[in-house]
Symmetry: C2
Subunit: 459 residues, 2 copies
């Protein structure tokens, strides 16, 4: 980076908030995906004015800018493929206000999900989408990617909670969208165009979120099914039952086997395990809902049904679901954590398809997922240093996504498009929709300077 531009950046953000040290740039060259590309430099702005000044300078100097949260994204959206500048938003991390009576919090984008959760918990409130990276992921990243989580069936995703934004546009103009009112239909909903836009339209500098009271009581139960179609049918019947479990997860046989081979959990090695959680303000309500769920498990031939007797037993049940990734990461060189959604009635069919694809490409693919909202995470276990295996893994992913789309599914339920799924965009989106997305991108970022190369928006 030339000295003049460097000096100008240092002048804007201060010496301690600018870096071109190799060790930093290596960190900034990747996220939680397998992509890598090194930026020229990185800045950590601490105010909206600094972000605006950086964007104006970048425009004058023809620099690309890639905004970044905690870098926990799994699709490469924070990787600066065209080099340029990384805009690390982590130091804009103030919780500006918590207004319980208005069900609103206002935060800067660098606030960590877990930190906000800790502040809200004593009030009995939460911002419900809870990505598994929540201990480190930032709210700005959650919003830019429309992060999901385990409670999507009942509580939706980040988009259902973003009420208003402050955004710095690619040319440095500052814009406010939306309203801190629970209900507003004043003008176009620009807020939701930015939610999930993966930093390709502007830099989010302030977020107003709706928060929810969380019922104080919950219960957890698991059901094991010898056959996948029994579990699939159970999911469909729960959907029909009028009960909306706060969590309804599915774990497939390869995952159960991998856990058993590497832990002492001794899980039943069945085709599918379902885990459900119900909630309420009273034990009666929680148990009523759980009884309906267990009846449906039983009716569909569950080989085991176990309801946790207390919080410890519930935690033990969740350990199985949560340990999958850790176990797989330990025993495999690389994991390609995929992410796709189908309508809930196709969950069992999709799981079967995953196994067919795994066999065809001679790969181990394990799947866990959010059965209650149709969002599954097939995880390809492979060695990325072997080009032949790597190619097979990527071919398998393409074939899988073709099947997902043919089932009425979507390329990504919560991990985003980024770099990894950009080549698949036209599988899902018709040419007119692609054109309109590109029109809007071009309208706000005519020089393609902010997070270029992502989402198939252009070159």
């Amino acid at each position: 980076m030339n000295e003049r531009v460097k000096d100008a950046l240092v002048k804007i953000v201060g010496k301690n908030n600018f870096t071109e040290d190799l060790i930093d740039l290596v960190s900034y060259s990747s996220d939680a995906s397998l992509n890598q590309s090194r930026p020229l430099a990185a800045v950590c702005p601490t105010t909206t004015e600094q972000v605006a000044a950086v964007m104006k300078l970048a425009k004058e100097e023809g620099l690309t800018v890639t905004p970044r949260g905690a870098g926990t994204g799994l699709s490469g959206m924070a990787v600066p493929v065209k080099g340029g500048l990384v805009l690390d938003m982590a130091r804009m991390n103030k919780i500006k206000s918590i207004r319980i009576e208005d069900r609103v919090v206002v935060v800067e984008p660098g606030v960590v999900y877990g930190d906000l959760a800790k502040e809200l918990a004593p009030h009995g409130f939460a911002f419900p989408p809870d990505p598994s990276s929540g201990v480190v992921a930032t709210i700005g990243g959650n919003v830019a990617t429309d992060a999901g989580g385990i409670k999507g069936a009942k509580y939706g995703t980040t988009k259902d909670y973003v009420m208003a934004l402050e955004v710095v546009l690619p040319d440095g103009r500052v814009m406010r969208t939306g309203s801190a009112c629970m209900k507003s239909v004043s003008g176009y909903d620009l807020t939701h165009l930015f939610v999930g836009s993966e930093g390709t339209l502007g830099v989010i500098t302030e977020i107003t979120l709706k928060i929810n009271p969380i019922p104080p009581l919950s219960s957890t139960a698991m059901g094991t099914f010898d056959r996948l179609d029994q579990a699939g049918q159970a999911v469909s019947e729960i959907m029909h039952s009028g009960i909306l479990p706060s969590v309804l997860e599915i774990i497939d046989e390869p995952t159960l086997k991998a856990i058993n081979e590497n832990t002492n959990m001794g899980l039943p090695e069945v085709e599918a395990m379902l885990l459900a959680e119900t909630e309420g303000h009273t034990e009666t309500e929680v148990q009523y809902q759980m009884d309906r769920v267990k009846e449906i498990f039983k009716k569909n031939g569950a080989s085991t049904i176990r309801q946790a007797k207390d919080a410890q037993e519930a935690a033990d049940l969740w350990t199985a679901r949560k340990s999958g990734y850790g176990v797989l990461a330990r025993i495999n060189k690389n994991l390609l954590v995929e992410d796709c959604s189908v309508p809930m009635s196709h969950v069992a069919e999709l799981l079967r398809t995953v196994q067919e694809v795994a066999e065809k490409y001679d790969l181990v693919i394990t799947t866990v997922g959010h059965a209650g909202d149709g969002n599954l995470h097939p995880t390809v276990c492979f060695d990325a240093s072997d080009p032949e295996v790597s190619q097979r893994a990527h071919d398998a992913a393409r074939e899988l996504f073709e099947k997902v789309i043919s089932l009425g599914g979507t390329l990504t339920g919560e991990h985003g498009i980024g770099l990894d799924k950009a080549p698949f965009m036209t599988m899902e989106h018709d040419p007119v929709e692609m054109e309109v997305m590109r029109t809007f991108k071009k309208a706000l970022d005519p020089d393609n300077r902010i997070n270029p190369g992502k989402m198939a928006l252009n070159g």
Copy 2:
């Protein structure tokens, strides 16, 4: 309308779906607001292809097009201010599919809200936003205006349920947006740009909605408060309590008085009445929640607290809330039903402000509203044929909106901007946001041909 264009339109939609009869055009010249403007002709397309052909013809012939649902809008969004063609979507009224296990329904835009509700009820499901015009309003209109309703606090508004759309763009291109999957973050969220865009960006021809199971049991209670600030404090404390009532309504003193003067209800003439509903799958849960609400009523000095003992008593309580508009319509020449939202902690302050404005302008303004989501409907009772009174009513509305904005509120919670609030848009939205809205409008509708003159998007 010239014969050549007329023949071309008839060729597209058929003779019975075209009209230029005066009696029809008079109907099409207004909606539920006080605005009027007559179109040249109206067509009622029955397929997406017909809509696309009409839009292409309109482009060639330089005709403006105003899409229309049932015409129940209160802000003039369906009034064809520039004449041209009205596109009456009422005959595209098929429910295409109901897939309970996927929590999805697919409908054409002309499906009436109440008809869909009737189809879903036997399954125990609903599309929760329930505008008071729901018996006649169409789903297409609900989506185009992001309709709200009485259950917004717990269930949100239309935008929280729209998953995917088929849209005909102003140039006749057909586009699909979104996904029928519960979770999808694939590409820009174009769906929500169309939700609430009041027909200014394209014509919605198919809608995929998320549906919710509705808990089977509910209870209703009312509390009366001699002082407005007691009611306001009660609302704030309910928000803090962890209970999310499915309904929490407020009725002000002028409304209670108007009802008493014209019915036999004999309501207590207090400064504010609150009505709350709680829900659950078990009586225990419903009562637990209602007990919390009643405790808060009591703690804040409620002069009366009454919980309905059965469905009939509950219905009686709701009659008070629902009869307000009918009574006012009977005793006044004209009603200007306003619509604004504030953060919930400002509900009492806003109600007081409404009364101050009413006194200042020597008008009767009564207010009911959705206290649980901060959305209030001050209703100006006046004689529109008297220009002086009319002017006062409009001046009062402007002053009211200035106060609303100063309280962190929004111009409209659920009735939309349309014509009536277009002059106020810049009170709420900063110049950059206005510019970006106009940029997107221009990107899709460069000739300003679809629903021109609305939302201050341009001339």
